[in-house]
């Protein structure tokens, strides 16, 4: 029975790490602009689909990955220039609709370019699972978890230690003051979307061997990534990872022990439960209303 628990746990960690990686993309953009990018799932899809495409035309894996990152960053920057920047001081609802419009556009483009079939990507180090305590762990999910941790540390260092990082956080909290202090808000926005697009692409080709790649793969991933980021407290990289793991593990445990039919419903009930008791997420900063 313990092996079964371990297997559920490992599955939860695998899925949780995926949601964490996607959730991190939300965090970076939120940190810089208080915008929730509902096209984040599509960044992941673009990373996966372009990597699959480059591999299919014969490129070696590392080259394909690099090109996938470059393409997704380019699209992220284009999204800022064409959609986000012109609507800078729009309301939350309007910005949500703009990023949803962008996600529909990117999905449409992917279908025109790469068709609607589903594809897979070779995992980094093979498909045969590692047996731990009778439960199977995929090397690929260890790669995903490892890179999620690595990225969190890099982000923590970037946002807390480097000047540009602090500039991003500063311009999120008080754009006017940041501008007065000489921070170029447009550059910060471009940088944050570029960073988040890169992260999305990395997540894309890390996730593809497990979730496969098809134009609408980004919808559910984006949704669960948003859950991870909110559960952990928007803007907190460590929170996004923990939020992702909590969502992933609760889904796996529900599927295993309660009812696989209501797996997703339970995950959302947990999220609602957390939000009701901590309205700004587990580790979100609880700002008091400044009057």
């Amino acid at each position: 029975m313990f092996a079964e628990f371990l297997q559920f746990l490992f599955s939860g960690i695998t899925v949780g790490a995926i949601y964490a990686l996607v959730g991190l993309g939300f965090t970076i953009i939120y940190n810089a602009s208080h915008i929730i990018n509902f096209a984040q799932g599509e960044f992941v899809m673009l990373g996966a689909m372009s990597a699959v495409f480059f591999v299919s035309v014969g490129m070696p894996m590392p080259v394909a990955m690099l090109l996938a990152i470059i393409i997704t960053i380019f699209i992220g920057l284009a999204l800022v220039k064409l959609a986000i920047e012109p609507a800078r001081n729009a309301s939350i609802v309007t910005l949500i609709i703009i990023t949803i419009g962008a996600s529909i556009f990117l999905r449409g483009a992917a279908q025109v370019l790469w068709g609607r079939n589903f594809h897979s990507l070779a995992p980094i180090s093979g498909n045969d699972p590692i047996m731990i305590g009778g439960a199977a762990v995929l090397p690929q999910s260890l790669w995903i978890l490892g890179s999620a941790m690595l990225i969190v540390m890099a982000l923590r260092y970037f946002f807390d230690r480097t000047l540009i990082g602090k500039a991003i956080v500063a311009s999120a909290h008080n754009p006017l003051a940041a501008r007065l202090a000489g921070i170029n808000a447009r550059f910060v926005l471009l940088l944050s979307f570029g960073l988040s697009a890169m992260l999305g692409a990395v997540a894309g080709f890390l996730i593809a061997p497990i979730s496969l790649a098809y134009p609408s793969v980004g919808i559910m991933l984006g949704l669960k990534g948003f859950c991870a980021a909110v559960l952990g407290g928007l803007g907190n990289p460590m929170g996004a990872v923990l939020g992702g793991l909590i969502v992933g593990i609760s889904e796996a445990m529900t599927a295993g022990y309660i009812s696989s039919a209501y797996k997703d419903a339970v995950a959302f009930i947990i999220i609602l439960g957390v939000l009701f008791f901590r309205p700004s997420g587990l580790f979100g900063i609880r700002g008091t209303e400044r009057v």
């Binding site: 079964e4 297997q7 559920f8 490992f10 599955s11 939860g12 695998t14 899925v15 995926i18 999905r107 449409g108 279908q111 068709g115 609607r116 079939n117 589903f118 594809h119 897979s120 070779a122 995992p123 498909n127 045969d128 699972p129 199977a136 995929l138 996730i207 061997p209 497990i210 979730s211 496969l212 098809y214 134009p215 609408s216 793969v217 919808i219 559910m220 991933l221 796996a252 445990m253 599927a255 295993g256 696989s260 039919a261 797996k263 997703d264």
Partner: protein, 387 residues
């Protein structure tokens, strides 16, 4: 004071008229035979709609190149319902009353088909659906036919094969889509009468990326002898991969929803040994030359792979058979009169199609039996026909 009224009137009316006026499509040449279609070309069920759309387009083009039907060109109108019944209903009404099509070849999903049936029956237009569920033609509806095998046929074929190998305790996993749930319902219904016992019944959600919890639970069910999965699209490969990773030893069955090369290629070896019922089309190379479908199936396979560049799937086959049955019916009826064409479709006898040999009748608007299915197994990366 009047100003306010006029201003409001112009704003609301202008927008409404602009919207509706623009959608009056252009005048139509009188003599073309119009075939109307709405398919799940994009969205969750695009794995069904995409090959269906390509098949219809390439064969209408081919038929028109060869002079059309009864000397009249075929005109194909396809709308993308994205697999949602909510979008399918307006498109069906548009095809019937606005585009005034002669026949409907549409509905990639059972949900979309069921939503449109009341409209088709009221309008009285021959309708061939590509939806999988048996309920589409059971009870029989006057104007509604279908070409895809019903999940009842698939489940019965699977159960026969299991019984042949002495497997009676089955663990079932199914997705949350229409095809998946209908297949699950048939499996649970037919288990008892076929002498099988379902020892597990697990579900996974749309867009899930990992099914190991459910498969682990099924693997550890005491007394389990066979694993069966109801679903289609990317999930089929993920389930096969997880199945292999978890080292599950019992035989692995799936349905005709997985009968495509994409399933094998993307399962990265996980598909090895999977058994499923498939149309002859899928294993056309393995068919003996004497097999009646050999010629038709290989012709369709060659045409589809060359024109679309994708590997062939049974879903494309549904569209091919549907189109050909309608074309034959129109030729036999000698006109596009709806009542006459309907009667001819119903009289389709011994029609050799890509997905099987159709014998329709007033009581059977599908005309396929278990013989149209061939049990296949995945061996070193390709389909092997089982006797």
């Amino acid at each position: 004071m009047k100003q306010g009224f006029i201003r409001h009137f112009t704003t609301v009316a202008a927008v409404m008229a602009l919207g509706l006026g623009a959608s009056v499509s252009g005048a139509k040449a009188a003599e073309t035979i119009k075939i109307g279609s709405f398919l799940a070309v994009t969205g969750g069920a695009s794995f069904l709609g995409d090959p269906e759309k390509k098949t219809l387009e390439m064969y209408v083009e081919k038929i028109n190149a060869e002079g059309g039907v009864l000397g009249r060109k075929l005109e194909l109108i396809i709308y993308d319902s994205q697999g949602s019944p909510k979008k399918a209903v307006p498109f069906a009404k548009r095809l019937i009353s606005d585009d005034k099509v002669d026949v409907l070849l549409a509905g990639s999903t059972s949900g979309a088909t069921m939503a449109v049936i009341p409209i088709v029956e009221a309008a009285g237009i021959p309708y061939i659906s590509f939806g999988g569920a048996g309920v589409i033609v059971n009870p029989v509806k006057k104007w509604v036919f279908k070409t895809p095998h019903t999940d009842t046929l698939a489940v019965r074929k699977i159960f026969n094969d299991m019984k042949k190998n002495g497997l009676t305790k089955v663990g079932l996993l199914s997705g949350s889509g229409g095809f998946d749930k209908s297949c699950r319902k048939q499996t649970l219904a037919l288990a008892g009468p076929s002498g099988m016992t379902m020892v597990a019944d697990e579900t996974h959600g749309k867009g899930d990326t990992d099914m190991t919890p459910q498969i682990t639970k099924i693997k550890n069910t005491p007394g389990i002898q066979a694993f069966m999965y109801c679903g289609f699209g990317a999930a089929t490969s993920i389930v096969a991969k997880n199945f292999k990773q978890l080292g599950v030893s019992v035989p692995h069955y799936q349905t005709h929803g997985s009968a495509s090369m994409s399933f094998i290629k993307n399962a990265e070896g996980g598909a090895e040994g999977v058994r499923l019922p498939a149309a002859a089309l899928i294993v056309v190379d393995a068919l003996p030359d004497s097999h009646p479908q050999k010629k038709v199936a290989s012709a369709y396979r060659d045409m589809y792979t060359s024109k679309s560049g994708d590997s062939v799937s049974t879903f494309g086959g549904h569209a091919y058979d549907g189109l050909m049955i309608v074309v034959e019916a129109i030729k036999r009826a000698g006109s596009t009169n709806k009542e006459a064409v309907r009667a001819e479709i119903e009289k389709t006898r011994n029609y050799i199609g890509a997905d099987g040999i159709y014998n329709m009748s007033p009581k059977d608007h599908l005309g396929l039996d278990e013989e149209s299915f061939v049990m296949v197994e995945v061996r070193n990366g390709t389909w092997k026909m089982l006797k």
